[in-house]
């Protein structure tokens, strides 16, 4: 009875085209955001450091890939490399201009990865589908090679690794060894909310419509006056921007330091899993997908030994790791069979059911 459309009348076009037309939805969103901020003060540092920060970072990367794959219909397997470009650009900028606040550089580093992404998006006019996916693999392997072979990228650091220097905001360390999980979580949360809001506006506006038109039928879109190359390149650029920022957050606000290997092809695959499981062409799906793919293995690692111990079976860490792979693989197939439109579709069905409850339709 609490969730009803009835009685909420729209009296102007702005209200009618709102993203959240229902008052209940807006309240719900506000509650979720407040809860997310409250978690910084309630959750312990394990929850923040090992669960929430990576979850948010991966959600951001998944949003990036979703813009490209879900909204524009261009399959990409180079996400990991684009994240890497963001991280390395951020590192170079941070160390070259230590006076400027690091948050500026986190946002700026995305532009570098956007440029690289657009460059590798150039073939997208000529080639489609799986061919394009393999072309993005070229980006993945070439960029990863660059990360290894160009020592300038890590300031000729002998270890070849990126490390987060100490940086502060209002005198509080937000990066580097002294930053607490709490402050880093708050920073990541704020950036993710900001960029999600931006992405939401993008995909619901003119540009998003153009992307969707290209996805649904590129020839028809072209006839309607949408220029395919510019639109596709824009999708590549925006997508890579998000991935780049996510990469910078991943290295400097989650790990605190990383090698090139973080941005390998498995990272790309994992983010693709998140997008597909969460739901193609859905921003909230990106969050669901990241939650399922990232948090599920952690939960499994805790639950499995506990579930098996009553039967006298003690399982080693390696067996759990193998089972984790098997279960994630099986779950992917299961979800694809049961709900190929992803978790976002389940969420939508749930909301629809709730709207008409207690009547079946």
């Amino acid at each position: 009875m609490l969730y009803r459309e009835a009685g909420q009348f729209k009296t102007n076009y702005v209200a009618d085209s709102a993203i959240f037309p229902l008052r209940e939805d807006r309240i719900g969103l506000a509650v979720i955001i407040l809860a997310a901020y409250a978690l910084a003060f309630l959750g312990n540092s394990f929850v923040l450091q090992a669960v929430m920060i990576p979850f948010l970072v991966f959600s951001l990367a998944a949003i990036g890939l979703n813009i490209l794959t879900g909204y524009t219909g261009l399959l990409s397997l180079g996400t990991g490399a684009f994240m890497g470009v963001g991280a390395y650009a951020c590192y170079k900028l941070m160390t070259a201009f230590p006076g400027v606040n690091v948050i500026v550089w986190i946002f700026v580093s995305g532009f570098f990865s956007a440029a690289v992404g657009a460059l590798f998006g150039l073939p997208s006019l000529r080639i489609k589908g799986f061919y394009l996916a393999v072309a993005t693999l070229a980006a993945q392997f070439f960029l990863q090679w660059c990360f290894i072979r160009i020592p300038w990228l890590v300031n000729y650091n002998v270890s070849g690794a990126l490390d987060a220097p100490l940086r502060t905001l209002f005198g509080i360390p937000i990066m580097g060894p002294n930053a607490t999980p709490q402050t880093r979580y708050l920073l990541v949360l704020t950036i993710v909310i900001l960029l999600t809001w931006l992405a939401s506006n993008l995909v619901h506006g003119r540009i998003g419509r153009m992307w969707i038109a290209i996805r649904d039928m590129d020839l028809a879109a072209e006839l309607m006056g949408i220029r395919p190359l510019q639109t596709k390149l824009l999708a590549f650029a925006v997508s890579s921007y998000y991935c780049g920022v996510a990469g910078a957050l991943l290295v400097f606000l989650w790990y605190g330091g990383a090698e090139y290997d973080v941005f390998n092809i498995n990272q790309s695959f994992f983010i693709l899993f998140m997008v597909i499981i969460g739901g193609l062409g859905s921003l909230i799906g990106s969050f669901f997908g990241a939650a399922l793919i990232f948090i599920l293995p952690i939960v499994l690692g805790i639950v499995l030994p506990a579930a098996l111990s009553p039967f006298g079976l003690s399982v080693g860490a390696d067996v759990i790791e193998h089972l984790r792979f098997m279960i994630v693989g099986a779950l992917i197939i299961f979800f694809l069979i049961v709900e190929p439109h992803g978790l976002a579709r389940l969420w939508q069905i749930g909301k629809q059911k709730l709207l008409v409850w207690p009547f079946p339709y």
């Binding site: 073939p123 393999v134 072309a135 990863q144 069979i337």
Partner: protein, 316 residues
């Protein structure tokens, strides 16, 4: 700089033709093996439109079963047969559990399903056989070993017997598949399905059976590829990276063409080795990891459907 890129390597090739031949030979051998892996992709893509990402792990899996069974005391050739049976079982299970429920879904969904299959097989394989790399049982399968040095062109060219055997076996395999596709009843049915699912169904070809057959055929190709790659570089899960190498081969040859896979494989194999040997040192080496992709990418800009791929004509 331009001199170093465009002239010096060729001068070097002319000065030391034995090194050039050696490099070409190595490129051809790895090209044949890439082609073998690419063939598994093509078989499945042709008959069911599924881009089978799991082909790489199938290669590892088949080789692991073979070696794993041998280590448990099964004679080598019985292990080989059992590995083939295991690939048949895998084909049937995949058809029943994965493909049949996903009929009529968009391509990307089927593609993702093979991702799920990949992860499942990685976990499953490691659970049963452990994640340690192991040796391929080359001697027990009567694969030749050792090397021959041929003195020619002012130097010596080194031929690994195993490489020769690999090239021969891969060629036989490819020939058999070509005959199978063009001469047999099942081969005709496969081609019919590749042409049009609906038309094939309407003349009474069972899609489910066809899928089992192609997955089994791809499994056999994977087994052969697994033995060959395993003999060269050991059997471990890192072998599946090699399967990713088959993707530029596919691009170059076209997703639906068996000759394309072979020629694409040879071009990629040779191009990669030449690039690594002659141009690699200019940029610090290691170009093998991405050169194949860049070759394929540049080629795509010129001919988007690949060498032998079907040109897709779009209409509104």
């Amino acid at each position: 700089m331009l001199y170093k890129v465009f002239i010096e390597p060729f001068v070097f090739m002319g000065e030391a033709p034995d090194l050039l031949i050696q490099t070409l030979w190595e490129g051809l051998v790895s090209g044949v093996l890439y082609a073998l892996i690419a063939l598994g992709f093509v078989l499945i893509f042709k008959a069911s439109g599924v881009f089978n990402f799991a082909q790489g792990i199938m290669v590892v899996f088949a080789a692991l079963i073979l070696v794993g069974l041998y280590e448990k005391g099964v004679p080598a050739f019985l292990a080989l047969i059992l590995a083939a049976v295991a690939m048949l079982v895998l084909a049937m299970v995949v058809e029943r559990v994965v493909l049949r429920p996903l009929v009529n879904q968009p391509d990307i969904i089927l593609f993702m399903a093979t991702f799920g299959l990949t992860y499942f097989l990685i976990g499953f394989g490691e659970l049963i056989f452990g994640g340690n790399p192991r040796e391929m049982i080359t001697e027990q399968l009567f694969l030749p070993q050792g090397t021959t040095e041929i003195d020619a062109l002012g130097g010596s060219i080194r031929l690994q017997h195993l490489d020769v055997a690999a090239a021969v076996i891969a060629s036989i395999m490819i020939g058999l598949l070509a005959v199978f596709f063009s001469k047999t009843r099942i081969g005709r049915a496969l081609r019919a399905v590749a042409d049009s699912h609906k038309a094939a169904l309407s003349v009474g070809i069972s899609l489910n059976q066809i899928w089992v057959i192609v997955w089994f055929a791809a499994g056999m190709v994977a087994l052969v590829a697994g033995i060959m790659w395993g003999a060269r570089s050991g059997v471990s899960f890192s072998l599946q990276i090699i399967a990713l190498k088959a993707l530029p081969v596919l691009i170059l040859g076209g997703f639906t063409s068996i000759p394309g896979a072979i020629i694409g494989g040879l071009i990629i194999g040779v191009g990669e080795k030449l690039g690594e040997f002659y141009w690699g040192p200019l940029v610090g080496g290691g170009v093998e990891t991405w050169l194949a992709y860049v070759i394929a990418l540049l080629f795509l800009l010129y001919r988007p459907q690949g060498l032998f791929g079907e040109k897709i004509i779009e209409r509104i």
